[in-house]
Symmetry: D2
Subunit: 356 residues, 4 copies
């Protein structure tokens, strides 16, 4: 098989300049096959190689992509005639795999979070800059058309000043053996919050607890409170143990409110609701809040698979040199929030300033 495929890919590689950028994927667990499907379907890319330590996973995935080579050795990707590498491996492996790929001249797409530590992210960013390579992190949600709509609405000022955001991301499943629920799930909400607001939190407080896999003390349920420079706050509820899957964000502004529910048919709904308080209500008697209960409007969203947009954006950034929407820097900021949340978690939930 190796021979046949080597030949097959050789033919393709010669046609590469025309046919598309050559992409290899490392990690064929849950996410890798999704990357494979997208890169193989994009006009601008060719899926050239799949790498995983588990022979059976490789065989299974390889059958679906007969034109892609498979390998258990990462060196084959590094030495192969590839333009880019997509990394869908455990978080602890992000840094070494990405560094090696960048050092061998490959553009790199890393699953979120970009690295397990901020200093690692900084190093990858500077290697990519030195070598003029695209470094991108897979914050899929910033490529989600519903999140795009939320950002557009918030940035347009339609909601007024943003008071607070509540995010819920809970489900029963996929307890991770190596990272806690904050590192697993919060990157999604953080990437949404930062993208939608266009700014990052100044402080974070985190509470959590482990119940099932108590030998490791990796919280399976966690709550985060963040504060932003303008007084806005954000609250995250994260759990691997909830009975009903939920993925939503409520955005409350001074003029209107919005609910983004990733699992609903109507993913983005604007509520023309609010509270008005007379300007000079000094005494309790003067205080008379008046409530507006206007129309609710579900915004039509033209659905496209976010990962498809993400992969196409990666290819386009490589071709044009453009800075990705989910750049290494964006990935770094989120790791900085996560690290601070982790310290808060270890210190009784005390609110900590985030150093960027």
């Amino acid at each position: 098989m190796a021979t046949k495929l080597a030949t097959a890919s050789h033919m393709d590689i010669e046609a590469g300049a025309v046919a598309g950028l050559r992409v290899g994927i490392v990690g064929c667990g849950y996410w890798g096959p999704k990357l494979a499907r997208n890169f193989s379907g994009l006009p601008g890319s060719q899926l050239e190689m799949l790498c995983d330590l588990r022979e059976d996973r490789l065989a299974e995935i390889g059958k679906l992509y007969p034109l892609a080579a498979t390998t258990e050795r990462y060196e084959d990707l590094l030495n192969g005639n590839l333009d880019a590498v997509a990394i869908a491996a455990p978080v602890a492996m992000h840094y070494p795999l990405a560094k090696a790929a960048l050092m061998s001249g490959k553009h790199v797409l890393i699953e979120k979070p970009i690295t397990a530590r901020a200093d690692q992210a900084r190093e990858l960013i500077s290697i990519a800059e030195e070598r003029d390579l695209t470094l991108m992190v897979g914050h899929t949600f910033v490529y989600n058309p519903a999140v795009e709509a939320v950002r557009r609405i918030v940035q347009s000022g339609e909601l007024g000043r943003i008071y607070y955001l509540n995010s819920t991301r809970v489900n029963l499943g996929l307890l991770q053996p190596d990272i806690n629920v904050i590192w697993d799930l919060a990157p999604h909400d953080l990437s949404i919050l930062l993208y939608v607001l266009g700014t990052e939190p100044v402080s974070v407080s985190a509470h959590g607890a482990a119940f099932v896999n108590t030998s490791r003390d990796l919280p399976e349920v966690a709550y985060l409170v963040m504060r932003f420079g303008d007084g806005a706050i954000a609250n995250l509820r994260l759990s691997w143990l909830d009975p009903v899957k939920k993925r939503n964000t409520v955005v409350v502004g001074s003029k209107k409110m919005l609910v983004y529910d990733d699992l609903a048919d109507n993913k983005v709904v604007i509520f023309d609701k609010g509270v008005d308080v007379p300007p000079y209500s000094v005494t309790e008697d003067e205080f008379r809040a008046s409530y507006r209960h206007g129309a609710e409007t579900a915004i039509p969203i033209e659905w496209v698979e976010p990962l498809h947009v993400e992969c196409a954006h990666f290819i386009e950034c490589i071709r044009t040199g453009r800075v990705p929407r989910s750049s290494g820097d964006a990935g770094l900021r989120i790791v900085q929030v996560l690290e601070t949340a982790q310290r808060s978690l270890m210190n009784g939930g005390v609110e900590l300033k985030i150093e960027y």
Copy 2:
């Protein structure tokens, strides 16, 4: 006919001692009329007097209860031939009104929270004890048949060990001019949690913010995290500013999970779901969580108005001397949690031990 009716009502009034306990209500705002409706409809009680400072409110409510007297002076209640007084006034007034009623020998039902300070609650409790009077706080939710069902299920052990509870109580509306959102809404969830679990939290952490009525710095949005002695945690989301009304509690146990949604048709649903982890998963590779996704069962709830049950319970406790389910002590414990949450709120959300 006029004659007949005049006679009939006269008879009733004279037969008061037999026909039912004589109840007076102070405060005819939002909650008072609900108390009036229930006490006037109960076989064991007579609505005798309504008291409010606002003449127009009195006239309006008085028309609905032609057999009840109305007054703007609280002394009329204290001096009237009443057995019990129900207090539906602003929180700051709970203590003086209740104390005066107890001192004049009346049984007392006070809206939640029982008082604005723990020491006030302690004083009311001891006056009531000395005088052998019933003192009860209006934790309506502990008389809610859905909450009863949740308590029964949790206490039966069907859910296994309780891991955590998430409560959400949000809505657009009724910003209070005198208390913050924690004092306004958390008593509901706290009374549910304490009743369902049969124990109280050992610590609490609170975060919050005010956006609309900023002149007073009374948080309109707040988040609480509580920890219980056995390792369980509870999280509360409270808001006066959310676009969609929500009142629900998720209870996650080691064997099963439960959702209590007070606004759903199916108020209590048990999820036969869970995660099992093999006992000796020392290494990551050994770790393989297995998930159970069994049936969801909506528990049929025979609906009765909780306030009706509460008022009937108050009457029964007066008659029998029984300790109310929502006793002065229960009210005190919740004020102790609230006071501690308030201190945490003022100290950057730091987790504080609750002194009972």
Copy 3:
């Protein structure tokens, strides 16, 4: 206090002519008490008398309205000093009770359907006309603010030409021993359809079946299809045996669509959706329908109890001589649809022209 109250009620009764129209209610089953609550609470009316054959029901309801007399004899209502009678008795009794009330000079409000036969309705209408009395039928839904909103939207042309309407009115419960499900539930939907569209169907087809109470052959489940003069159609699903309560109407127009769901938080939602077909698509290849999937907008509805509006409207029509929105004529038209549906049901569901 006793003295004061006796005096107060005496005053009210003497001031009756000024204080409000004197209303008596016959039938204290399910609906009568609701009428009693509303007429007793309206500024323009006084609840004077309650009539029912069952002594226990009378006693129970009478306790809630101490100022109203109670009687088991309908003559007491006819002979009493009443201005109007509201009839909430079994359908077969509507005609004799209403006729007697009109003949004794009372204005009459009858629960839907107005009578069991069209000729009976015609007779009531002509008696009321002769004597210049208000005759109104309790089509409660035409006083529902959500239905008002639907009518306003449809009549404004915002939905374009109306293509079709689908109504569903199903529930588990309240099998009637004397009438079938069409006569019990369809009056609601028919009154909505006729009010919203401003026109009546030209034909009707009905199918149904009885399963539980088979001794009587009164269909418990039924389906109606109606056609309107302009080509629009309407479909009704009616059942006393469905597991989940539903009350909704979908209105599909050439420009937009609308869902009215009486049980939803958002009762009226407009969908900016539609299909456009190019004008000259003669061949299949030319045919290319294009779909618009625009915003969904929930219309805010200021809620008032429909029965409250209905009762106030009845009082106002009596005072002003105005023709009620749900006049005897409106009631007659619906009985004509029901009679024709009944004939279709008996004849294998054949579509029958409705004679008005």
Copy 4:
């Protein structure tokens, strides 16, 4: 390309006996690519050839399956070294395409409805029998695990005697230029009803109307009522013009009820609800229906893609000679219902006996 692929497929074809049955697909519109994805992913089959008249569609789909040959000429499929042909072409083409495939010795899977006329289906069935070939129709829903669960529950007797079924299948979209909404959507519901009940209706009545594409008079909205031999009835609501997508079936039995909602998270819910009537209620007064409102239980469904099960079943039936669950006969029965419904539609919705 032809040469390269011919060679590629030749290699594969020789390995065919080992690798799997060779399948060709005709029709690469909406459904064909789904068949392609499934047959290419099954261990027991190889996707060998794709056929469509449109070169651009072929090129697009062909890129995803580089090992499959593409052709615009159906003869290539007939002459190719294929074991089976799957037909996803317009309904009018089902018969000629299927007949030619069977005549050339191929096993055949046809999309629903099997043919446009019952006599065509009968002919295909007899050709397949003569030649000992598998003939199967793509009633996908009988391979849906939720429908399987509904059938199992109904057949177990848990619901008691089945009273009636209500199906709703509505959406905005995909108006067909060549068939009406009954022929397009009803096969889904009919295949579900017949499979779940294990019997077929004895009569059918159909009403419908066209609004958008009026030049062709193909109803875009339709209502069917069917009666079964044991007195059960079934109602279908079908529309291409409804604002909100719905796909559900309510099954009401004498003991329990069930809702199958294909779009809900909980696809199958059993309601322990019902009505009991005392056996000898001759008079109205004796009649007292009593209602049971027990628990609602959502049945866990292990999800698999129905089309995957269907394709695997087709392969297995070919290998084993087993009669497919959705056999030619099953397809014929549904065409017989459709033909009768069509006649009813043309005759004012009159109820017609179905000849099988």
